[in-house]
Amino acid sequence: MATAIDRFDEKARRTFDSIGRTEVHRGELLRHPVYTRLLHWAVALFFFLALFTGFGIYLPWLFRWFTPFFGGGPLSRILHPYFGVGFVFFFFLQMLNWLAPMLWSPGDTKWIGNIRRVVSGEETLDPPETGFFNAGQKAMFWEIVAGCIVYLITGIILWMGARTFGAIAVAISYVLHDISAIIMLGGIFIHIYLSTIGEPGTFQAMTRGAVSEAWAWTFHPAWYKKVTGRDPREAYEKARQQQSGAPPKSS
């Protein structure tokens, strides 16, 4: 099973790499191939389409101004499940693609224990065990996997309605669907923040696909070590000495 997935992903990655392009400059590392990037933005697009059509149904007295963008309330209601299915479909491919790097490791539990120092900014360098994804990213990934399962089951019940599944099933599904959406939305706020202004240098991982070496040894030292074979702390110290030794740039 796992090998069949590997072969599928391998083939997809190769196909998309032959169509798209990833430039990796000197001092940079390849982070996400074309296939991953396209999947990510397909997921994000369908997520926001589903989110905005869903808002109009969730709290119309607050969010009904979203619905005209989708052709009004009834059309929002008709489109929402299709956007949702699109989101789940692309995230399913992404899940297969990312299954291996997202598996939990003992270092991740330690990372979570350290979270206060990360949030407060005291921790400038991530702990040396931090691999391709850190524990926070993995937690969000698995939250989305769980969320997709909840969305899919409750969403189909809401889609077909009380005529098919009965009033009680709909009433329960409706609450679970909402809770799942709220948790995911909260996670996405944090995700967008960290991948843009919260940790500068991250956004290009999902656009150009490459990140700087400094970014890698700072946030994902174990991954840096794996791909370059160099020690992340040594590389960091070296860069620091170089910086203080060299005359200030006139920029």
Partner: protein, 301 residues
Amino acid sequence: MADRKTLQAEKISGHSGASPGFGVQRDFEVCKLVDTTTCIGCKACEVACVEWNDMPFSATMFDNTYQTMPETRWNFWNLIKFNEHPNPDGTIQWLMRKDQCMHCADPGCLAACPADGAIVKYTNGIVDFNQENCIGCEFCVSGCPFNIPRFNPGTKKVYKCTLCSDRVGQGLEPACIKACPTGCLKFGSKDDMKFIANERARQLKENFGMENAGVYDPQSIGGTHVIYVLHDATDPERYGGLPKNPTIPWSYTIWKWLFKPVLGTFALFGGLGVLLHYIAVGPRRPQPEPQEKETVHGNGD
């Protein structure tokens, strides 16, 4: 109410007597009374409803009963349900009940509906759907304890009995009431209908030996604006789809009015939280940070 009398029908040509229900919609809660003990299953009310509401033809379905079709439809709001109830003594009781929206005092459809203005409850007790605002989500279907709202796949909107709000608003009785030949359907103020219904139940008990006869006006949802006189009020279920204690699922009451806004606000705080983090703690940059930064103090970088 002198100032409001202008367009109220007082006499109507070719109409039997004074218009029943005349004027009540203004001052009272209105009510429809269905006396199941005098219903003869003639279906005149079904025809009247289809006629008055100008419904398109729809093919019916025979299911080995006298019922016109198994359930009400988006274009068929009023259905006489024929139930054959086996008694313990081996006899069969043939029960006919006019099924339509109950116009609940606490309408589950309205509690469940997320769309602004799609369902309106008037002060006279009528619960009416405003299709213009309906988004077709069908939450009302799962909120209704009587399984009444019906989805029209063509218009993607939901429909049900209006209690003939258009007629009642003009001082007329609902079409089904007007058509009923036996007087088993009555229309008037809720107080009057309750009085008549209780009198009838008393009569059934005293004169016909129906010791369980009673009135169906379920208090679990604050009462309804359609009430029944039943041969046996202890077991309304036998009439097909009349729950003894109808309730609205809690998810439409607590969840909707409390948790929805509260959790929605939480999600917003998530957005605010990251903004505050940016302002108070600032971003984490790849290390070592560019050196120029350290030489700058205070204003800007």
